[in-house]
Amino acid sequence: MNTQALTDLCYRMADDELILAHRHSEWTGLGPLLEEDIAFSSIAQDKLGHAQALFTIMHDLGGEPDADTAAFMRDELKMRCSHFVELPNGEYDFSLVRHFLFDVAEYVRWTALVRSSVEPLANLARKIHGELKYHLYHAQTWMVQLGANGNEESHARMQSALNEAWPYALGMFEPGEFEDALIADGIFIGEAVAQQRWLELVAELLQSSTLMIPTQVEPIYGGRKGHHTEHLKPLLDEMTEVYRIDPSAEW
């Protein structure tokens, strides 16, 4: 097994989950209605759990630091998240659209990982399948509700958020350093195939939403190589503030 390739894949996935979990959790207490606030916060918590599980797999198989150290002690240059998850929440329309586009990608990735040659990854994929299914159902229901069943304003807001998000969403599929090794070793299907499946599933799920999928858009890359937006640093400072006071503290 190519440990380097596996570690690279896991950091990309885990960092996306970790940073988006933090962004989602910024809505806690501020959500548009109480029930949605609770649902969205709990989705954020699930994402954090996925990140933790991935860090733990790398710790066990690749000799990487434990989950807390990996999550809280790496600086910006070491982070492998895409620009998409770093962007500030903006208004709820953008957060919902990002939630939708990210979770379709997450669903595609983990569905493929069920057949991964790395046993712990395949086991994790099976374990979290139900959660991912609910996240997808939650995201799609809101896309259809606000796209097709809302009013003119909700439709316009969702469409403009979708247009704004699209180039960043494509950036989630920025190829890693070890694409060929991941595919050859049966660890993962690779970013190109994942993107293709993502496009198909997004189109299928948005069919009844009346929202138009943007075309001919250039992806925004960089995150997977450690180049980030100016939004990541302040997020990391806030997220790690308490942990870094005393990294040896028992929680």
């Binding site: 029930e35 949605e36 609770i38 709990s42 229901t141 069943n149």
Partner: protein, 131 residues
């Protein structure tokens, strides 16, 4: 500077002038989404139990939100959501139809003091055996 004794509305009452000319505006209708009653099924074949309600614009979103409110922890097999408007119920002033006839004690479980009888029987038997 005014001092607030307490923010508890039971202590510090809102000072509404009874003489005021402009009447207080009632809240607009549908200021919130309508509500749906949520029924939770814990085991296959078990009754769905009423557990509370959720605000939602339609059935689909009600079910979606009910899942996170009432089925995140513990075992769940299924959920039902029912629009609160579809629940047909008795008027508050008709509660007297539920009044029972208190003198017919024999219709209530508590009227049967089996335990006393068992105790008496045991006591009688023990006394009988020692004689």
């Amino acid at each position: 500077m005014a001092t607030i004794i307490s923010l508890d509305p039971r202590v510090t009452r809102m000072q509404i002038d009874p003489e005021r000319k402009d009447p207080l505006e009632p809240k607009p209708e549908l200021d919130q989404f309508q509500t749906f009653e949520v029924f939770h099924q814990g085991k296959s074949g078990a009754h769905h139990m009423h557990v509370g309600c959720v605000h939602a614009p339609n059935h689909e979103l009600a079910l979606l939100l009910a899942k996170e409110q009432y089925a995140r922890r513990g075992q769940t097999v299924n959920l039902w959501v029912v629009n609160t408007r579809d629940v047909f119920t008795m008027s508050a002033e008709d509660t007297d139809v539920f009044a029972t006839t208190p003198e017919k004690k024999y219709r209530e479980v508590s009227a049967y003091m089996v335990r006393n009888k068992v105790e008496a029987f045991k006591k009688q038997n023990t006394e009988g055996s020692t004689e």
